[in-house]
């Protein structure tokens, strides 16, 4: 079931007072997010990612096209009862304590006082911020602020959570903890829409990824689909004789890296098995071999470079 669906969504911003040139932030953008998945949105700065999230949350209005969240048009505010949002560079009132921040936003979300009190404790414990609940947030570090922001986004037990750079300013251990929280939410059937510059994080967490550039969707798919390599295998072996190296070069078109390493390209499992049989017949020990895979970062950079 689609929890988010957009159709030909476009957003045009009018230029500044002395520069009337319009800026196209989103251009006929169509995509969907399935319920229960962690969806990652990637794109360079100014690609339109934040605009998309803002439209999906009713903060900005689309110029043309439609956007639906949980089957409701984004102009209908009722779906926001079941969404949570952690914006990038969020600004909570600095004069409040962590607990007061959650009580305030819980109240704005329509939670009763009793519900807010109960969930405030639960969520602060979940993000490991319970002992700071009575501390004014102006004393919080960036990482603590992010944890509080995450607790705020989860406060209403939403079905869909939008997170914009959720691990920004958080140390590696904290990142792992947040990843675990998000994966736990996914296990509970929640949908997470993740906007992050940390590609390794997206790679570790997301089921599906969309890449946005200049307001247009340029690629979409599962992480495995996007990072699939070019059928190239790297072999690490015992020392190869001159004859074997010659055979590998002439019969198998292998690329020799050293006397213990070479690359072989083939999409046929039979051919790979034939090569392995050959190596064994030559008394060559295969120490390891693996199929080469692009990192999400490599794929992303290549894709954006090609678009230029």
């Amino acid at each position: 079931m689609n929890i988010i669906a957009t159709n030909n969504l476009s957003k045009e911003y009018s230029g500044r007072t002395f520069n009337k040139k319009k800026i196209l932030a989103l251009n006929k953008f169509s995509f969907n997010v399935q319920q229960g998945e962690i969806f990652g949105l990637l794109g360079p700065n100014g690609a339109g990612k934040t605009t998309l999230v803002k439209i999906l949350l009713g903060i900005t209005f689309p110029t043309t096209g439609t956007a639906e969240v949980m089957g409701k048009d984004v102009s209908d505010e009722t779906y926001k009862n079941k969404t949570g949002y952690l914006p990038e560079n969020h600004k909570f009132p600095l004069y409040m304590t962590g607990e007061q921040v959650l009580e305030y936003y819980g109240g704005l979300s329509g939670l009763s006082t009793a519900e807010v009190k109960k969930r405030t404790g639960e969520n602060l414990a979940l993000v490991d911020m319970e002992k700071w609940r009575k501390t004014k947030i102006k004393k919080y570090s960036k990482g603590m602020m992010q944890r509080l922001g995450l607790a705020q986004a989860m406060l209403t037990d939403p079905d869909l959570i939008f997170l914009d750079e959720p691990t920004d300013g958080i140390d590696p251990i904290g990142r792992k903890e947040i990843r675990d929280i998000l994966l736990n939410l996914k296990d509970k059937g929640k949908t997470i829409f993740l906007n992050s510059h940390l590609l390794s994080e997206i790679e570790l967490m997301c089921d599906r990824v969309a890449i946005l550039n200049k307001g247009e969707l340029i690629k979409e798919g599962t992480v495995d689909e996007l990072t699939a390599g070019n059928d190239s295998y790297t072999f690490y072996t015992s020392e190869l004789s001159e004859d074997t190296i010659n055979d590998l070069l002439t019969k198998y078109s292998a690329v020799i890296g050293s006397k213990t390493e070479f690359k072989y390209s083939s999409s046929s499992p039979e051919q790979i098995n034939t090569l392995i049989d050959y190596l064994r017949s030559k008394k060559v020990f295969i120490l390891s071999f693996y199929r080469e895979k692009n990192s999400l970062e490599d794929m992303f950079i290549n894709l954006i470079e090609n678009e230029k």
Binding site: I59, K91, G107
Partner: protein, 270 residues
């Protein structure tokens, strides 16, 4: 619950920005000075004489004292209104803050009305403290409990509400606290008194009918806190109100400013 949370937010912001404390401190100082004044030997003697001469004299003393307090409260409210609450809307519109607010299941008109109601309640509570205390002191001292004075709290709250609606609109349009303060100070302390004196002073220099018409138009359109204060004092002193026009046009201005604010806020991308 959502509306209550918005009002709670305004009160918390007022407490954090020391607006409440400032008003409470100044009010307490005024109350103490007033308390000392009415306990001075000369005033005590005057009060004793009035008590002997009858209730009318006591009433005059009470009304005179309270009228003086209305003028002080009026100045306090207007100044406080402009300087202190001018930051409410621009701070709400800051990036990172407005995104969070608009992502909540609360409508944009509700947000504007919540901020407005919160500010008005805040000033109402402050006025109840200041004028309520003064009323109790004067009444206890004179033995004459003049209840109509309490309506002054509502009049001053209304004066504040009118200016606050203008503050909200300017805050939304400019998104700047400094600009909001400057524009409102100029409006309330320069333009409004000038327009108020247009017939007695300005028309002596300006004889052109068109310019007079424009000045008249601005007088009716812009807030008239001074004229509202005059109505309030007339009612306090039991005198007939010369014209209710300032009340009607101020009310219309408040409704217009709030409507335009809501319309603008509903359409604006953040």
């Amino acid at each position: 619950m959502k509306f209550k949370a918005l009002i709670y937010g305004v009160f918390r912001e007022a407490i954090a920005k020391k607006i409440f404390l400032g008003f409470f401190g100044i009010s307490t100082l005024i109350i103490i000075i007033f308390l000392l004044m009415v306990n001075m030997d000369s005033v005590q003697g005057m009060v004793d004489t009035m008590k002997l001469t009858g209730q009318d004299a006591a009433k005059q003393f009470v009304i005179g004292s309270l009228g003086f307090m209305v003028d002080i409260s009026y100045l306090l409210i207007i100044t406080f209104c402009i300087v202190s609450v001018s930051s409410f809307i621009p701070s709400m519109l800051e990036k990172g803050s407005i995104d969070l607010l608009l992502s909540k299941p609360i409508s944009r008109p509700q947000i504007i009305l919540g901020k407005f109601s919160g500010g008005v309640l805040l000033i109402f509570a402050s006025l109840v403290y200041l004028l309520g205390a003064v009323w109790i002191i004067v009444s206890a001292k004179s033995g004459y409990w003049y209840f109509p004075f309490l309506t002054t709290i509502l009049w001053l709250t209304f004066s504040f509400a009118v200016i606050y609606s203008v503050v909200i609109l300017i805050g939304l349009l400019t998104q700047s606290t400094v600009l909001t303060i400057i524009i409102n100070i100029f409006l309330v302390f320069v333009i409004t008194p000038l327009l108020g004196s247009r017939e007695t002073v300005l028309y002596g220099f300006i004889t052109n009918g068109t310019i007079q018409f424009i000045l008249n138009l601005f007088y009716y359109i812009l807030p008239k806190p001074g004229d509202l204060n005059i109505i309030s004092k007339s009612l306090l002193q039991g005198e007939a109100v010369k014209s209710w026009q300032p009340l009607i046009t101020s009310f219309l201005l408040m409704v217009t400013c709030l409507s335009v604010s809501i319309f603008y806020f509903k359409k604006k991308d953040y």
